[in-house]
Amino acid sequence: MNKAVWFARHELRLAMREVMWMLSAGKPRRQKIALVLLLLLAAFLHFVAWAIVAPYAKVTFPPDRTTLVVITGSAFLGWTVMISQAMESVTRAFYTRADLDLLLSSPAPTRLIFVLRVGAIGITTSLLALILIGPFINALAYAGGLHWLSAYGVLFAMSATAAALAVGMTILLFRTIGPRRTRFVAQVVAAIVGAVFVIGVQAISIFAYGSLSRFDALHSSLVMQHMPDLDSPFWLPARAAMGDIPALVLVMGLGFSFFALAVSVASRRFGEFAVAAAGAGAGNVRQRAKRKFRGGSAAAALRRKEWTLLIRDPWLVSQSMMQILYLIPPALLLWRNYGSDNGNLVVLAPVLVMAAGQLAGGLAWLAISGEDAPDLVSTAPIKTHAVIRAKTEAVIGSVAIVLAPIVAAIATASLWIAFITSVGIVVAAASSTTIQLFFRAQAKRSNFRRRQTSSRIATFAEAFSSIGWAAAAGLTAAGSLLAIPAGALAVLVLALARLLRPKDTALRA
């Protein structure tokens, strides 16, 4: 059998098992349930996509500038997410040693290994995009005509260019800042690259219309004025997506050529970079010499430890603080409307409460499930509930420190909204922490990115609880009695999570 085909089959098998593991949280019996849930999710996404895009599916040819701007803007949004996903995968391809030592020490050509691995990254990026964007293309094709199906070709070309760009950026980082820093910088870039575009577009919406809607930004006169003429090649992807066959051929040709070029150039030095990445290690980081031990209770020692570990892990900070980036648009909204309209401030209450719930969920996972020395803490002469209380305080304290400046700014404009927001933040953070306690399962902190796979119930409970408290806070701030059922829903989610929590092997004390 041809070596490339044999190796491709091996890679495909590993990739399939990885996907199934992620879907079923490593439990083979759950695979069928996971597939059924995936199909239900696909059906739901089609329903959502239909509701959003069906009214715009019937376009006239040649398309006007607004249509081209909206399609190009939406495609660019998807593309940034693809680049983010591809960068994360490329970094792992270099740094995860799982089988790389075996492969690089074998007589298999390193170029072949690299080409297949990057090819696999391109395919997995396409698959992710298919799950998220496919329903929208299908809805457009059903409502507006089969010509929309050519958007799939654009999607594949975008995935290829995203993978190529990710390879190019990683290699560039290797050369400029070295293998040790590349890992961290690439992961942070991957984390924020998608968010930056979303935030940028929302910022334009806020300044142009005083609204958080991204579509408002794409329609804004500011954007329209700065867009190129209708016959510009800039619109080729949008035209290709709408069924312009020559444009589609050109876009796909350019996309795959770019991919081939990047892989061809980078593959020559893959072995060299992979070996450099292996030798990078963690390095020796010296802290300032410790002069005096701090005293205090065991709880104080636990809180200090949690905060120190969090501050010293920039990657975890970048991952868990992603929610904070999404607070920039509401903060801008607050700034723009300051003193003019309390109605807009009401919008901030649910946004901040939602962010608090999500941020607390991540931090609570790190503090509770991501405890690196569980035996040490469990053998200490401190009661379990005291450990949990100290860790909860560390989590809620962190959330409070992050959100306090925005709440303080709201307080100068409306004490009532600031009060409701503060209460909502504490309750949402405490709820997410409680859910993490219900579903705690020992894991390495480095598995933070994949924490959702350990318990789907916890993930959904955390999300619905945050949504419930956010709605309750927003409605209370707006003076609506509907806040009561919203709060009741959040309490119900907590009760259900408690009911469904795994039977824990409780520790003594």
Partner: protein, 250 residues
């Protein structure tokens, strides 16, 4: 704290997972003794010691540490005990000194005393030059020594070590053994599991052999030799005679 002749007393201890891991175990370790607990893989050594350390709940039985009922008053029992596992669990982003400060905080040791002990321990274990370096770049041996220093910083009366020498180089292993011997001389009780029979032979005052969750032999090396009827045999010969090939395969 009640005075007790025994550092550890285990009576009729039972713990079942899919099959019985510990099956009616009875064990007594005297105060100030170096006790080695031996047994083939899956014999129930680690399960027993994890129950003693408060990391597992038994299905049945009693555990007493220096006369304290460890199942009824675990916090009091834990205050005199230290646990070191084969896989050193430390925090990569903390330095050894910060780690020891944290452990001392958990055990409520006075900050000044803890600091002085921490410096002394790191010196003994030859970690002084790395005291302010984050543990993330440390070798297995260095990490194990940091974990051991953590176990000693609160001056425990009973130290339980589960395979502490696994993966250590000769130099690190010697340092760990030296520190443990010094602790026993100072009156501390040490219970250690190991697959390195030569270590048990040279260091332990008494040796217990466990198989299928039960204690099948116990005594000094001489007593075990007499019992086996082989006066010049090594501990390895006695051990293999006791547990038999089927248990080793398990």
């Amino acid at each position: 704290m009640p005075a007790s002749e025994f550092a550890l007393e285990i009576s009729n201890l039972v713990k079942r997972f899919a099959r019985p891991a510990v099956d009616g175990l009875n064990l007594r370790v005297r105060s100030g003794e170096f006790y080695a607990l031996l047994g083939p893989n899956g014999a129930g050594k680690t399960t027993t010691l994890r129950i003693v350390a408060g990391l597992l709940q038994p299905d049945r039985g009693d555990v007493s540490i220096f006369g304290i009922d460890a199942l009824r008053d675990p916090v009091a029992a834990k205050s005199v005990l230290a646990w070191v596992s084969d896989e050193p669990m430390i925090y990569d982003k903390l330095t050894p000194l910060e780690y020891l400060e944290f452990v001392a905080g958990l055990w409520g040791v006075d900050a000044r005393i803890a600091q002085s002990r921490a410096r002394e321990l790191l010196g003994w274990l030859e970690l002084g030059p790395h005291a302010d370096t984050r543990c993330e770049g440390f070798s297995k041996g260095m990490r194990q020594k940091v974990a051991l220093a953590g176990a000693l910083v609160h001056d425990p009366k009973l130290i339980i070590l589960d395979e502490p020498l696994t993966g250590l180089d000769a130099g690190s292993a010697r340092q760990v053994k030296k520190v443990l011997a010094e602790r026993v001389q100072a009156g501390c009780t040490v219970i250690m599991t190991t697959h390195i029979l030569e270590v048990a032979e040279r260091m332990a005052e008494r040796i217990g052999v466990i198989a299928s969750g039960k204690l099948i032999a116990e005594g000094t090396l001489e007593e075990l030799r007499r019992r086996a009827g082989k006066n010049n045999s090594t501990l390895e010969d006695i051990f293999l005679d006791l547990v038999g090939p089927s248990d080793i395969a398990a």
